[in-house]
């Protein structure tokens, strides 16, 4: 054991503990005598020798003995039409961020083994994305909760339901202190149930929690008067697509369908007919969408909104009517550098000729006001302020539960 050494007048240390506590001296990495470790009368070297010999014998001799006994455990009651060992395919949906992706799941003897896209589902057309592929791993995740938990400890579903029953049934008040956290599944039944809960417990709070929730998009649309919705784009009719920090071909929630639609307009035959689409990407980071774009501008994330404001003002100047309140979005006075202005000019010029055949998509990570700026507003009439006609909004007419964040609709 050496005391903390001193070199060039500076105390030297080997670990954080010896630095904070220099008087302890340096601590040995391995305990004294580790090289001669002896357990149950067998030294480390002897142990390795025995292990080596038994491994060699096990490997060399098992080939000479009879095969292991194998068992067959058939069903006691076999499901109808099940042929053991044959794969069966089930059609299902995966919800990510309120968008349903149609899937076909291959199942082998009751164990799902592979996820593929459902050709007959419009959101998939036979394709999947990383989220869908990962669901198989998710299913067999050892950390996946298999039962209800109570204060971190394992419980049963029956117990959990009984506890909820006890807490809610006979509750005469309006549900003060009751909060429900739920994912953002775009299910009408879900929504109806939540609405009935909200009716019974008026003071209850219902929150959606979802990693891919489109909260900014919804909030932005609410700014221009469209409540409880998110846009659903149809790129098959779009001649010009403007992506404002939207990776709609990569990590976007509806990427499978949008990529297919976008690619459908990228055929060489379409180019001959003058119908090939054009994509502008204004984004702060490299994305699949940016790599595909005809024209890509890399700007800081904060500048994407500035670009949207520039574009809106150019379009307004060319005679497009903005929805009420749109001009106030973005706050302070507009300041933009030369590149942004030049780009906004060019994009606005392109869009002006494509009224009704262009889409502006804003990425979820942009703030709500950018989304509001890009949306055409509540009108369903042909008079549209921004050329994002191809975006159609579906609003939920049913009243959202009070105190509830707007639930997305599909």
């Amino acid at each position: 054991m050496t005391k903390g050494s001193v070199k060039n007048g500076q105390p030297q240390w080997r670990s954080l503990s010896s630095r904070t506590n220099p008087d302890q001296g340096s601590v040995r990495e391995f305990p004294e005598g580790a090289e001669n470790l002896e357990l149950d009368g067998v030294s480390r070297r002897q142990f390795l020798a025995i292990m080596g010999a038994s491994t060699a014998l096990a490997g060399g001799l098992t080939g000479c003995v009879r095969k292991e006994v194998e068992h067959i455990l058939p069903y006691s009651r076999r499901p109808e039409d099940q042929a053991d060992g044959e794969a069966r395919f089930f059609a299902t949906n995966l919800y990510v961020g309120g968008v349903a992706l149609g899937l076909l799941v291959k199942s082998q003897d009751g164990r799902p083994s592979k996820v593929e896209g459902n050709k007959e589902h419009p959101s998939s057309g036979g394709g999947t994305n990383v989220f869908a592929q990962a669901t198989v791993l998710d299913l067999y995740d050892p950390d996946r909760s298999r039962t209800a938990l109570k204060a971190g400890a394992e419980s049963t579903l029956e117990e959990a339901l009984a506890a909820v029953d006890a807490a809610l049934v006979g509750h005469k008040d309006a549900g003060q202190g009751l909060a429900i956290v739920i994912d953002s599944k775009p299910s009408p039944s879900n929504r109806a149930l939540l609405a009935s809960i909200a009716k019974r417990y008026a003071a209850a709070q219902i929150y959606t929690h979802d990693n891919a929730d489109q909260a900014n998009t919804r909030e932005g649309m609410a700014l221009v008067g469209v409540a409880s919705s998110h846009p659903v784009y149809d790129l098959s009719v779009a001649d010009v697509v403007v992506s404002l920090d939207a990776d709609f071909m990569g990590t976007g929630v509806d990427a499978v369908r949008l990529t297919r639609q976008f690619a459908g307009r990228r055929k060489p035959e379409a180019a001959k007919a003058g119908e090939i689409n054009r994509l502008y990407a204004i984004e702060p980071a490299f994305t699949v969408t940016g790599a595909t774009a005809d024209n890509r501008l890399q700007v800081a994330a904060s500048q994407v909104g500035t670009f949207a404001r520039l574009l809106a003002s150019k379009l307004a100047a060319s005679g497009v009517t903005l929805p009420a309140g749109a001009e106030a979005l973005g706050g302070a006075a507009l300041q933009a550098d030369e590149t942004l202005t030049k780009w906004a000019d060019a994009v606005a010029k392109d869009l002006a000729g494509k009224r009704g055949k262009a889409v502006i998509i804003v990425g979820e990570r942009q703030p709500a006001w950018v989304h509001g700026l890009a949306h055409r507003g509540p009108t369903r009439s042909p008079r549209i302020w921004l050329p994002s006609v191809a975006s159609r909004s579906s609003s939920s007419a049913s009243a959202s539960p009070p105190g509830c964040m707007a639930l997305p609709t599909s």
């Binding site: 006994v69 067959i72 455990l73 058939p74 006691s76 009651r77 053991d84 060992g85 044959e86």
Partner: protein, 218 residues
Amino acid sequence: MAQIFPRWSNRLPLAIAAVVPLLVASLGGALWYWGSPKFTDVGYRPEQPVPFSHKLHAGEMGMDCRYCHNTVEKAAMAAVPPTSTCMNCHANVLPESAKLARIRESAKNDVPVKWVRVHMLPDYAYFNHSVHLSAGVGCSSCHGRIDQMPVVAQAKPLSMGWCLECHRAPEANLRPASEITNMAWDSTTANYRADEDPKRLRKVKDLHPPEHCSGCHR
């Protein structure tokens, strides 16, 4: 100076030349005989948890193979029947038999019966029952006279060489579709020419049983 090696050591190379090939040959011969699936696998007859007799059911009572192994014509695996198939009859036939206690227990508690696999094809060899049936290979060609076995035993070696023998010249093992489950079918006395059968769904010349590695090791 004394000799290091005694005189008899002159004969040592001759002795080695004579003995070593003999040893090698006998070792090879022993492996060839006792290591072959014909010796190690044929006759494997494990005890089953329920003393089900194929001799009684398939032989004496004449039940069709496909009543229990019902997926054999459409799937790779000829499924071992679920307990509910047994109970179709045994709910009424011998409902109190002690031999059937495991079956009743399985049906009542919805737990599987742990049968012992007799025909153990390795996992690296692919086999499809339905393809062989549709080609006209009968059950007994590979499984032997199951209808005469009180306890099922492996009748054929199921080795690669044995598979290939038939894949190279399948004609002798083909039979008409109507005789697929006929245990008593004998190709030597049946006088059946598969290539001249007009009712065959798959012509013999179109069968192409794979002889390349990836046909089965895929």
